[in-house]
Symmetry: C2
Subunit: 81 residues, 2 copies
């Protein structure tokens, strides 16, 4: 299975990269840009055929290693690889 993690700064947490990208896009003429958040996209390929187990594992991985819960929000999805 492939687990895809989408991690981004929590609302209210300073996001200097997001601000930089936002200003860059506007300077390039994308004037309708309202806000940008920059986070991490992580793909984890696991040898696991049971989707339920992969989901449980994803939550554990996020908690123990991938996500800093104080400053980051995350979502994930599990797909066949």
């Amino acid at each position: 299975m492939l687990i895809k993690f989408f991690i981004k700064p929590r609302k209210g947490v300073l996001d200097p990269q997001g601000r930089a990208v936002s200003e860059n896009l506007r300077s390039l003429g994308f004037n309708n840009v309202k806000d940008v958040k920059v986070g991490k996209y992580i793909e984890v390929y696991v040898e696991e055929n049971d989707r339920e187990k992969a989901v449980e594992q994803a939550k554990e991985m996020a908690k123990k290693a991938l996500v800093n819960d104080l400053i980051e929000d995350y979502q994930f999805e599990v797909v066949e690889d």
Copy 2:
């Protein structure tokens, strides 16, 4: 609309962050981890109600500012925000 970009290192491109995360996960007991890729997750909120236009804009943003085509692959999706 909200444009979500999922950017990752191209196949064959060195991904030291991916390797580090992979080793970290295994050292934590996730022994079924085969491979990890670490990339960027970017959310861009645009004032645009026309989905087709947002899709065109997303492609332009990727090309001009967000993705380094030589070393990165990307996908995106456009959703209502």
